[in-house]
Subunit: 143 residues, 2 copies
């Protein structure tokens, strides 16, 4: 009998569960964070748009089963909260676990969550490469 | 006396005004589409996160005043509608106007709109390079 799926009380809870699941390469936990919807969207750096629960699952099954371990460290969350939909803009520092040189890549992710009958769930994950670091962010510092 | 700002009745109207303004290099029209908010976010390919109305304006003033003309053709809109917030995922085909060889770059954009007292406005524009074309999209075709 499958375990009951967790309910995330806040977008932040859902997001933390998402990054935890990525870092543990736990496909089931990762997919639990997503809304079970044919309309969900996942975009990974340079990749195509992936639409629909089954397709997102299949893509991440490949990623997590490749055995290439990585650690994603989300920082500098900028939150745009709403009653039914909330947007988080996040810097991700991604380090390949097998590298010992400490090198990492910077990614910017837009994570969009919706409030459903079973708590907050992920609706869109759009991740893309950035040459900038959070320190270089253009935020209220231009003038 | 400044003209009254347009009111966009739908996210689609706001999005169309956004792309029209980009293609006409019309900074005022472009900024009219955005929510006048210190929290708005704009991410351009490989660039930093730009937060806040004044910073977004300043960045786009540079882009549009550089004189490098481009044509952005949005296609394959995938819409995630909500009462107060709506997400559009869009392929952008960007062609440099001065090139005659027809070459273009593909970008994927996540455009997030909010419904405000003055109609729908742009809250987030996250654009990033993709090596995929809409034809290669992973959508209900994996199985």
């Amino acid at each position: 009998m499958p375990l009951k799926k967790p309910i995330y009380a806040t977008p932040r809870d859902a997001e933390q569960a998402m990054y935890d699941a990525m870092n543990r390469a736990d496909l089931e936990a990762f997919m639990n964070v997503w809304a079970e919807d044919e309309e969900i969207v996942c975009i990974l750096p340079n990749g195509p748009r992936i639409v629909g629960y089954a397709n997102v699952r299949e893509t991440w099954r490949h990623i997590l089963e490749e055995g290439q371990r990585f650690i994603i460290n989300p920082t500098n969350t900028h939150s745009l909260p709403g009653m039914l939909m909330t947007v988080h803009s996040v810097y991700e520092t991604i380090t390949l676990a097998e590298r010992n040189d400490g090198s990492s890549v910077q990614v910017l992710a837009t994570n969009i969550f919706i409030r459903s009958a079973v708590g907050w769930r992920l609706l869109v994950h759009h991740a893309s490469a950035t040459l900038a670091t959070p320190d270089e962010e253009i935020i209220k510092t231009l003038h």
